[in-house]
Symmetry: C2
DNA sequence: AGCAAAATCCAAAACGTTTCGGGTGGAGGG
DNA sequence: CCCTCCACCCGAAACGTTTTGGATTTTGCT
């Protein structure tokens, strides 16, 4: 493979000159520069990024640590959208992206910090991490620049991007209240996600705002799983048939709830209103199309990469980015009969 | 950052010994090895993969070149599933994955080969490439090991993984024929995809097998776009109302066709049967659920990575992998009325 | 004790770059 | 003619590893 040395020999100059010529330094004669560039093209030279990174101590690479990169993750396109956003930004800034495998047990022995240090990534974006994940602690301890998606962490080197989950869920509740609903239940996700707490807070606030009380038995845990939510909803709706609306902490769970309702002969939205959260692709394709509060995952990914770079470059003390969300009213909500 | 030199100094040995100790060579005393390992842990040493790769000329990294990594790509989960499969395999083999940005115009100046050489990836997996893409020619010319998804290319260093697209479409046609359909149209994709030709061949063969003739005006080009397919289908179905079934070269296009049919008051599947291709997530969630021929994209990704590694290691002369497909009969096909 | 073999260690080169601290030669100014 | 300055170039060190080819010490055997 062609190296800078080869060029130097062919051009009859030193490697220093070749390096400086190719990198646009001013202290090299235009004629020699031309000659060097021609030879470089001739022998199909491309710089060895490894060697360069080694000496410059800069890899132009950021790492991606995603938990949901498994076979099941495909149903919601969230991970993918975020990835796309990150990729977009990295393209503009000429950064490369390396995916870390956290799935396999083999790598589990290696700590988060080790992975990053070995590969010498300049920073990391972490997605889909649960708050009881051991990696999380490590992020605090290590001083590797990183930004998390939907996990509020702030430090010298760490930031996050998220949406206003409290407000998001309040939007859903308000919408239902406007439609005349009073007996509103909530299908929340598991506690290992930070957003769950926020969304529950939004639920409480929304209910209080409307002068309604939240009944403990009416908020349940669907674990962000379609199947689980269906099962739980089945029990909930048979035990408390007076419920006329249920807000869900994810679209997938909302689909489960809809299925459960229809299994009980309660047609959605006529006999039960349901709202989701996320606005995954499925949401608008399914019938009835899901009313849901949408998040722009692409933008979140893009913002995450942007924030990470600004942390890397000590541009500002900013450590959090808030992306807007929006209630998308579709066909799973309707006035209370 | 801790280096092997630091350890050497602290342990009172040479860097050679540290290196050999840490890498499990037998010619180092067990006591010194213990000591070295302790110190390594103590000062949080992790090896510099850059330096190692530089001298070993081996990066344990494969590159990923995907064309569909854009915002629109999210609807079909294909790219994501493939990625997941690749990621899975790489995890097992302790390979890292780097994503190349081919989207932005900035990087377009850099050729495919340059990207790979710079980053010193050992091989590449290419996905979603069109056959008029300039990258394709480069793949032939460069001798960088690579495997393509759904593009039949074989050379010393290149291979591919695909499914039997001819047979796949034949399965769909056979199914429709068994249901009594005779006036069958095809919604194909654009010519820039290799699979289009194959699927058309399957259509022809299937029709011939059933003693039916294919009418040229009845095979149209939906360009793998939902919107375009809808528009084209609208024209097709109004011009030729005698059509009772249409096979599509992708699920997204099938969705467009279904929409067009319903817009014309032809309820699917009662008044029109439609089949898709790919079995994307949407296919089973949409109503009516799409009858489609399914491909296991995860397995394709996994197989691609597997094949690439076997090429890298000169394990065998094998240059192609064929993954099975399967007809999934759901609710968009029915006996001809 | 003498000697070969085994065990343990090390110095130095190499990988391909960048960068620091000069060096050389000629032009311009006095 | 001498001095300074500028344009252009170079040698060598450095980045953090691995590996080659010994060198030294210890062990085992007669």
């Amino acid at each position: 493979m062609a190296t800078i040395k080869n060029i130097a020999k062919l051009a009859g100059v030193s490697v220093t000159t070749v390096s400086r010529a190719l990198n646009g330094y001013p202290d090299v004669n235009e004629n020699t520069r031309k000659r060097i560039e021609e030879i470089a093209k001739e022998i199909e030279y491309s710089p060895n990024a490894l060697a360069r990174s080694l000496v410059m101590n800069k890899t132009k690479t950021i790492g991606l640590l995603v938990s949901g990169l498994s076979r099941e993750g495909a149903k919601d396109n969230i991970v993918f959208d975020v990835l796309t956003g990150i990729n977009e930004f990295c393209g503009e800034e000429e950064y490369d992206l390396v995916l870390f495998n956290t799935t396999t047990s083999k790598q589990k022995e290696k700590t988060y910090a080790q992975l990053c240090r070995e590969r010498r990534v300049e920073g990391v974006i972490v997605q889909g991490i649960k708050n009881d994940d051991p990696y999380l602690q490590e992020i605090f301890d290590s001083n590797i620049p990183c930004v998390l998606i939907d996990v509020p962490v702030e430090s010298e080197t760490a930031g996050y991007v998220t949406t206003d989950n409290v407000d998001g869920l309040m939007k859903a509740v308000r919408h239902l209240v406007e439609l005349g609903h009073e007996n509103i239940a909530m299908m929340n996700g598991h506690d290992q996600a930070f957003v769950s707490k926020e969304r529950f807070k939004g639920f409480e606030l929304g209910m209080r705002e409307a002068g309604l009380s939240v009944r403990k038995e009416w908020v349940c845990n669907g674990e962000y799983s379609e199947k689980k939510a269906e099962k739980v909803a089945l029990e909930l709706l048979t035990a408390y048939p007076e419920i006329t609306a249920v807000v869900c902490a994810s679209d997938l769970m909302a689909l489960g709830v809809v299925r459960a309702a229809e299994h009980l002969g309660r047609k959605v939205p006529d006999l039960l209103s349901v709202t989701g959260y996320d606005d995954i692709t499925l949401a608008s394709y399914v019938t009835p199309a899901l009313t849901t509060v949408g998040q722009d995952w692409f933008r979140m990914g893009y913002a995450a990469a942007d924030l990470l770079l600004s942390i890397l470059q000590h541009k500002s003390g900013e450590r959090a980015r808030l992306i807007e969300n929006e209630l998308k009213i579709r066909n799973t909500t309707k006035e209370k009969q």
